[in-house]
Symmetry: C2
Subunit: 316 residues, 2 copies
């Protein structure tokens, strides 16, 4: 083939690839709720577009969510195969049961992989869950005998680490979740694209903390440069919940207030139509509907609000 033709063909392939794969990440919510319903607790499989090598951001519900995703043809094979082959690791934001019960319950069927987290979170996994008293110790540290299926990978705040057997990296940041109890934000990177997942957290002013502000300082330049593709953040309670009874959680009002803090660093324009995925809504009475209404009613930065559903694909 003549060189000119080759170059033209190459340029065409490059154009098509760019035109038809605008997204960087795909996310399969395995569970989205902030409690009560054991079949639908916080867990989000994330991979890069075109890959089937996922990690799981929190792991409240696995099996039931995987079954739903298989029914929706987002995943293929049996639930056990997906668990073993497609989930390459777990990123656990904090050690409350609704964020990791699925991982514990499914561990006998699982394959060898890493559990990523900040030290205080992994310490609770060692001491309280994989302790032989609550569950067999499938990990590689803690109460003996350690069966060694899971390897604890301690993350250091602000230091990026590779997510093994995937094409992604992660940087962790500490969050306040009912001060002094801590939670974690995970900034997942693929090349120049980022997705940010926050575990349960309250607003800085309620928590008497500056941890969310510190996180915003880190990610504001990425948001401004359009490298940050999506933000996953919790809204557990409606605006009517008194601050003293938030237990380290956000309301629609506190979410918007926190995002305004981010906007003060990134510029408001950067948040216009920016995808904000609302996680961890606590079921109970008509709270889910009230929160949806309150979020829509007051969205001064015009972020793109997304309420995820179990087994329904998200792309960014």
């Amino acid at each position: 083939m003549k060189p000119v033709l080759t170059i033209l063909l190459f340029a065409c392939v490059l154009f098509c690839k760019t035109a038809f794969s605008q997204t960087s990440f795909k996310v399969i919510p395995l569970g989205v709720k902030g409690g009560i319903d054991e079949s639908n607790l916080s867990a989000y499989m994330i991979a890069t577009t075109g890959s089937n090598d996922y990690v799981c951001l929190d792991a409240g519900t696995l099996h039931y969510g995987i079954e739903k995703a298989i029914q929706a043809k987002l995943l293929h094979g049996t639930a056990e195969e997906v668990l073993k082959k497609n989930i390459k690791g777990y990123l656990i934001s904090h050690a409350h049961l609704d964020h990791l019960a699925g991982m514990i319950i499914n561990s006998p069927d699982d394959s060898s992989k890493n559990i990523y987290g900040l030290d205080y979170c992994l310490d609770v996994l060692k001491d309280k869950y994989f302790s032989w008293k609550s569950w067999a110790n499938f990990a590689d540290e803690g109460e003996k005998p350690a069966l060694g299926k899971y390897h604890y990978t301690v993350l250091t705040p602000g230091i990026e680490m590779p997510l093994q057997n995937t094409d992604m990296q992660v940087t962790a940041f500490s969050l306040s979740h009912g001060n002094p109890y801590q939670s974690t934000a995970f900034l997942v990177r693929h090349n120049e694209a980022y997705a940010l997942y926050l575990g349960d957290t309250g607003a800085d002013s309620v928590e008497h903390s500056d941890k969310m502000h510190q996180l915003w300082q880190y990610v504001a330049p990425l948001l401004k440069a359009k490298k940050l593709k999506a933000l996953f953040i919790e809204v557990s309670f409606a605006n009517e919940q008194p601050d003293k009874q938030l237990f380290g959680h956000l309301t629609p009002r506190w979410l918007m207030s926190s995002l305004e803090n981010l906007a003060s660093l990134s510029g408001k324009e950067a948040l216009n139509n920016f995808p904000v995925v609302i996680t961890h809504i606590k079921p109970g009475g008509n709270r889910e509907q009230v929160i949806r209404t309150q979020l829509k009613a007051y969205n001064p930065l015009h972020v793109k609000l997304i309420i995820p559903e179990q087994g329904k694909l998200l792309t960014f």
Copy 2:
């Protein structure tokens, strides 16, 4: 009314009551599986016929099972109302997560009630679950502050205790579940009728234990006298599972062998057509079907084998 008529009417009412309420207990399975599926883990609501004051035998899955039972019109109101009003207490056989995750996850929505168990089980609840690190301490002992919604009621093996706010009593017995790890059998009584629920356990000869034999010695006279109405017992694995990999569980063959030990104390006739509810079958591949087939294929005592289903009423 003349005395003779009054007596006749009374006799008639008594006859009708006896004729139309032969059963003593009703059981609503909220979850029946031995792992993996977070929406269907061991939990059995039991009450006396005609009462809506239940206790829950283990509490692996609550909310999702209650929803199923409401759909089946076995329970009425919302799941939260059922949780708060109809479940008067929890009897936890042992502290493995698949037997109590539902209770922990649902605790923020629950009402004040008792958690019954042997001391080693309640100690794990205190130390590992309601510890503030894994979950807020909703109980009345352990890590401070103790929120006090649940009251730990320590049972002593062989000593009967009332099940508060119900018309039932319970006697607990220690079981071996991967010796030296212990589990519990609960013998529930209403007047002269009994139901026996065994938590996870292995056969005595595999466990190098005599705990099941001791339990059979206690209940054999009740079985013989037809006061024992049903037995709930686990079969986790198929016969092909090597004894060394049973991890404190039963197979169809080990179940029948254990029942033959019971028959040696009660007489074989007492087990003929006696209801044996098979709990805790571990999902995976075609194991569930294999276990059903193996149970039917070798049932030398002709017990009435019952495979329970989530949200499907059982009466005894």
